[in-house]
Amino acid sequence: MNKIAVIDYGMGNLHSVAKALEHVGRELDEQVEVVVTSDANVIADADRVIFPGVGAIRDCMAEILRLDVDQIVKDAIQSKPVLAICVGMQALMNTSEENGGVKCLGFLDGEVRYFGDDLIDSDGLRLKVPHMGWNQVSQTIDHPLWKDVPDNSRFYFVHSYYVQTQQQDMVTGVTRYGNDFVATLADNNIFAVQFHPEKSQTVGLTLLRNFLLWDGTV
C-alpha cells in the first residue's frame, strides 16, 4: 500500500489533486490510498506527502501556523518524499512580497516576488498578471520526477508571484514569462512546482505518477 497524504489546512480546493492522484494510482499496479487531512498522525504515517496551497500567502501562512502545519511539513521533509504545489512551494521559501511582505517557512532558501504591473515580453508586448494558462517548462536538471516528461512540456500555471533563489543547484525547471522564473525546485526529498500538475493533463499526471513511485533520492 502506497499512502499519500494531501495536507489540508483549509486553503482552497484539494479535490482536484486528490482525484488526479487516485486516477494515477489506478493506472499503477500497486494499491494507492489518498487521504486529504490535517491530522499530524495520519501524515506521519503516510509514505508520501503533498503540500498544496492556493490563494493569498498571508492567509495560507496564518492557517499553516494556526494548525501547526509548519511542524507537520518540517517532520515530513525530514523523512519522506514531499511534493509542494503552487502556494505550497512559495510557503517553503524565506519570505514573500505578497500582502505587503509575509514571512514564510524558510525550509528552502529563496524569496517570492511579484511579476509586476508593467511586465513585457521580448517584443515589448504587455504581459498580463496573473500568469494564467499553459506555459513551457525547461528542465534544467535531470530528476526522477521528469521521467517520461518531454523537455519544454506545457504545464498549467495560475499565479502572480514566483520564486527566486540564489541556490541554482536547487532549480530543476524554469519558465519564461517576461523573465525566466523558477518553475520547479528540488532539494533532496522535496520537489516543488509552481504549476498545477493535477490540471496539466498528460504531462501533469506523468509527473504525479513519478512522485508516487519516487523514493526521495536523486
Binding site: N13, K19, A20, G55, D121, M132, G133, W134, K199
Partner: protein
C-alpha cells in the same frame, strides 16, 4: 517559448445534458457532458467551461453530480458558471471539483459579492462573466452596456467601467460575451474585446459569435484576447479542437499542441 493562448470549449448544460441554442432559441441536444468533456480534453482543449442553464432546484443537484463526474475524469481546469449567487454556491462547486466559478448576474445585483468571493476563495478562482451589448449607433464612439438574464435585461452600466470595477474587486479573469454576436456565427465583437483587454490587467476570454476558425484567430490577434471560447462549432463537429489549434498555430499564434 511563451504562454499559450487558450481554446476553451463551452458546455451549456440543462438538466444534465449539453445543449446549444441560437440566441437562446432552438435548443439542440449535444450529448452527455462527461463524455463531451473527456472528448474535448483528449483532443487538447486547454480548459472546459460548464455553463449551467438549468432553472429548477432538482436540476441544480444534477449539475453538482455532473461537475463531480467531469472533475474525476478530466485533468484540465474546469470553470462552472450559471446560477452562482452565494458563497455557499461557490463552495459547493469548488468541492464538487470546479477550479473556477463564473459569476454573472449576482455580481450586477451585488458587486460586493465578487469582493467577498475573491477574499474567501482567492482571485484565481473568480471569473466574472460579462454580457455586453453595443448601445452606440454607427458613427458614434463605441459604447457597450452590460445586460443580465441572458441578454434580455439592460442595466445601464458601461461595460468598460464595469470590468475595471470587477477586477479592482478581485476578479481573476473576465469572460466577455457579446450579446450582439452570441449564436450568430459572425465572429467576436473585436472592438469590444480589444477595449476590455486593454482596460484590465487580468486575462480576457472572448466569447460569442464564433462560426469558423479564422474567428478564433481574429479574437486573439485583433481582439487581443488571452483565450477564446466557443461552443457550437465544436459540439456539432464542424471543427475539432485539434484543427482549431493547428489553424491558430499556422497563423503564428502560440498554442499548446
Amino acid at each position: 517559448m511563451a504562454l499559450a493562448k487558450r481554446i476553451i470549449p463551452c458546455l451549456d448544460c440543462d438538466n444534465g445534458r449539453v445543449v446549444k441554442g441560437v440566441k437562446f432559441l432552438d435548443i439542440r441536444d449535444a450529448g452527455d457532458p462527461v463524455e463531451v468533456s473527456k472528448r474535448y480534453c483528449d483532443a487538447g482543449a486547454d480548459e472546459i467551461t460548464f455553463l449551467d442553464i438549468t432553472a429548477s432546484h432538482e436540476g441544480r443537484e444534477t449539475t453538482v453530480h455532473t461537475v463531480e463526474a467531469i472533475a474525476s475524469q478530466v485533468f484540465i481546469p474546469l470553470t462552472v458558471g450559471g446560477g452562482i449567487r452565494t458563497l455557499e454556491d461557490i463552495r459547493t462547486m469548488l468541492n464538487a471539483g470546479a477550479d473556477k466559478v463564473g459569476i454573472n448576474t449576482a455580481a450586477v445585483v451585488n458587486p460586493e459579492f465578487v469582493r467577498e468571493a475573491a477574499e474567501r476563495f482567492g482571485s484565481q478562482c473568480i471569473v466574472v462573466a460579462v454580457d455586453a451589448k453595443r448601445v452606440s449607433i454607427d458613427g458614434e464612439p463605441p459604447k457597450w452596456e452590460i445586460f443580465t438574464h441572458g441578454g434580455r435585461k439592460s442595466t445601464g452600466i458601461d461595460a468598460i467601467a464595469w470590468v475595471k470595477r470587477m477586477v479592482s474587486f478581485g476578479a481573476g479573469e473576465i469572460l466577455l460575451t457579446s450579446m450582439d454576436r452570441d449564436g450568430t456565427k459572425s465572429g467576436f465583437d473585436l472592438e469590444l474585446n480589444r477595449e476590455v483587454s486593454r482596460a484590465v490587467q487580468v486575462p480576457l476570454i472572448a466569447s460569442g459569435g464564433v462560426g469558423n476558425l479564422q474567428h478564433l484567430v481574429d479574437g486573439v490577434l485583433e481582439g487581443e484576447a488571452d483565450a477564446v471560447l466557443a461552443a457550437s462549432i465544436f459540439h456539432f463537429q464542424e471543427y475539432s479542437i485539434q484543427e482549431a489549434k493547428q489553424y491558430m498555430a499556422d497563423k503564428g499564434i502560440e498554442v499548446r499542441l
